[in-house]
Every structure is written in C-alpha cells, then in structure tokens.
Amino acid sequence: MSSTMWATTSAKPTPLSAKASSRRSSLYIVRCSLRDLRDRIDSVKNTQKITEAMKLVAAAKVRRAQEAVVSGRPFSEALVDVLFNINEQLDDIDVPLTRVRPVKKVALVVVTGERGLCGAFNNNIIKKAEERMGQLKQLGIEYTVVSVGKKGNAYFQRRPYIPVDRFLESSSLPTTKDAQAIADDVFSLFVSEEVDKVELLYTKFVSLVKSDQVIHTLLPLSPKGEICDVNGVCVDAAEDELFRLTTKEGKLTVERDIVRTPTTTFSAILQFEQDPVQILDALLPLYLNSQILRALQESLASELAARMSAMSSATDNAVELKKTLSILYNRQRQAKITGEILEIVAGADALA
C-alpha cells in the first residue's frame, strides 16, 4: 500500500477522486496525493489573497471616482446657470448642436470598461447596446457605434458586421481629454449631418450592488440643457442628480444629490458681449464635454462596484473551497496514518 498518485487503495472514492477518475480512466480509482492536495490548498489560498486585494483596490478607487464627480460639479453647475440665464432672455435659439432633424441614422456611444473581472458589468451594457440596435433596425433607422473601452472594442472588433465609427480607449480615471476625444468624434458626426442623433449608452451608478444601463440622448442638445433619455423623458438639468458615497449606520451607501438649482433671485439680465449664437456655439460644446465626462465617471464607478462585488464572491468561494479541500486533506492524512499502523500491526502479528 502506498500513497502515490496512481495507487488504488481506498475502498470508497472521495468526491474529488471520483472526478479525477472519470477524467483519467474508468479502470482506476485514482486518488490525489497528499502533496497534490496541499499544493491545491496553497494555490486557493493565494487566489483568495489576490481577490481580496482586488476588492480593496476597487473600493479605494470608487472613492476616487466619487471625488472626481464631486470636483466636476462646479463646472456643470456654472454652465447650467448660464444656459438657464440665456434661455430666459432668448426664445428662439438655432445653433447647430440643438437642431432637431428627422432621424435617419443614429450614433451609439457605448461605454464599457478597460478590464474584466467585474461580473456582468461589460456584458450588461453590451446587451443593452444590442437591444437598442435591434430596436433601431426594426424602425428602419441606421446606426453606427462609437465604442469606448477595451472590452467593448474587443466585442465589436470580433463582429465586423456591426458598423463602428471609432474605437476609443479610456484611462483609469476619466479625464477631460477622454471626454474631448469622444465629443470631437460625435460633434463632427452630428454637425456634418452624417448622423441625426447621438445616444450615449452607459451604466449609471445606483448603489454598490445595483447599476442601471441607461441610454441618454446626447445630441441634439436641448438649449436649456435638459437631459433626455430615448423615450423622450427629460429631466431638467436643474434637477439632475449626482451620486455621492456616504456611510449610513456604518455601512457604505450611495445617495444622489440634486445639482444646485439656479436661483431666480440672483438672475441678473446678463449683457452678452457677443452674439448669443456665438456664445452658445462656445458654451454648448463645453456642456457636451461635461455630459460625456459625467457618463464616463458614473460608468467607472459602476464598474468598480461590480468588481468589488465579483471579487468579494470570488473570495468567499475561495474560502469555501479551501475548507472543502482541507477536510479532504485531513481525511486522507488520517487514512494514510491508519494504513501505516495496520501495516505495523499486521507485521508484528506475522512475526509473533
């Protein structure tokens, strides 16, 4: 009797060896050696350390992502203030970015992540994009995709039958440069009338366990700076909400705060130094950029939350697996010792 890998000594195959046997051969009842089990336990322990670390890193990054959103607020608030003010004074504003046209072609900006190991995050937003493409196809509307994020890029590159305008990548923390690249592409598509509408598909950060895949109409912009989704449901930019991580009863939660509403008490009649159209031409692109940047930031926060949750499950699974393997290891170890004792006793008997 020995405990090498190929011995067939145990009367009852343990669950692990039953699997091993079906893999290797139907004749042998194979048993993993103690050393193999020990190696596996170590490997699972290492995996657990890695997944735990990834979860903590993601948690730290979520905070940074949130801080970035908060830092970006003064910009959007000031812009919305001024847009509001301009709208109070003018009735008919006709600027290229706000022109509503009959829709023949739509550009879909799909925001995915740069890395995997985040659960269903990337799949969900891609599924939403496919859904939207199906809807548009049914309505007889053409579309083209602007893919943002390595994961989305890989997906669309594998499917050359989907028309893609550009592949873009984002950095680990979205910057104005990233937003600018997307804005430039989308701007030229819309203004050249190559597309009549631009929709932004991204993942909105609802809570640490929940995110929503949303489709916002990016262009044409509404002159008041309203944010509309594809069903025409519009939220006044003055009521737009930004997410904020806080703690409630010691647990990390997400709350959404309303952007500061422009107060009518302080609204003076601003004198325009330039033509209102020239001013809007300068302001609306800035507004477009800030909208895109916000979407990128929310998407990143959702990705990080998804990664935290996925890595947390992975860690829990690793703990379970380690427990199972340890029990198996101990059983085998004890069986081996018993076997050796029996040998000794039998041998002593034979001599006696």
Binding site: A78, V82, L270, Q271, E273, Q274, Q278, N289
Partner: protein
Amino acid sequence: MPEQLQVELVAADRLVWSGEATRIIARTSEGDVGILRGHAPLLSVMIEGVVEIDTADEGSFLAAVDAGFISVANDRVSLLAEHVDLAEHIDADEARAAVRKYSDSDPDDSAAQSALRRAEARVRAVERR
C-alpha cells in the same frame, strides 16, 4: 453688497480657485476686459489667454486658460474653461516645448491651432509671473 468680487475659477474637472478679489483681467474674443466691483452684468466668450486676478490678501496671480466664458453678475465672477493652469504650476520649459511642437502645424487644423494658442498662453503666464 460684498466688499470685493466673489470669484470662481473653474476647470472642467475641478474648481481651481475661489475667493475674493479686487480686480480681474481676462481676454475675450472682443479684447481684454477688466472687472472691478460694481461691474455691469456680463457674459462673454473667453479665448485662450492669461487671466490676472488681484486679491487683497494673497497678492495677484496669473492663470493660463483654455477657451471658455466669463460671467459677471452682482459682484460674482465665474471664469470657466476646459483647462486652467495656475502660473505657479506651469513648467516653463515644458510650455515652450509645447509651443515649438505646435507652431509647425497646419493652420487649418483647428485642434492643433487651439493647442498652440493654449501653449502660448501658458508661456505668457509663466513669463509674466
């Protein structure tokens, strides 16, 4: 009415500076504009250039800004631009290298041209500091 102007200098990703000031000078598409207390309400498109802010306590400082806008109302001034660099944080050599890099670009390339103007503004800000 507050004693001085309440000023916000805002970039797309952060609030760069806020505080009280006595005088602001900015460059708009119509030329330089100086804002003092009691200025009439104004909204103007700002072009790439140097913004000068004179404060009572902290002295005056410069910032290089991208295109954006400036709004003045009730002694509250908002300067908004995609990029804002405080002069003290600008590396002179880096700025000059950027100017050299963009000065050969095609005059029709609007992105390169605005990058050039922005680089020039940064050089001016750092040289006047």
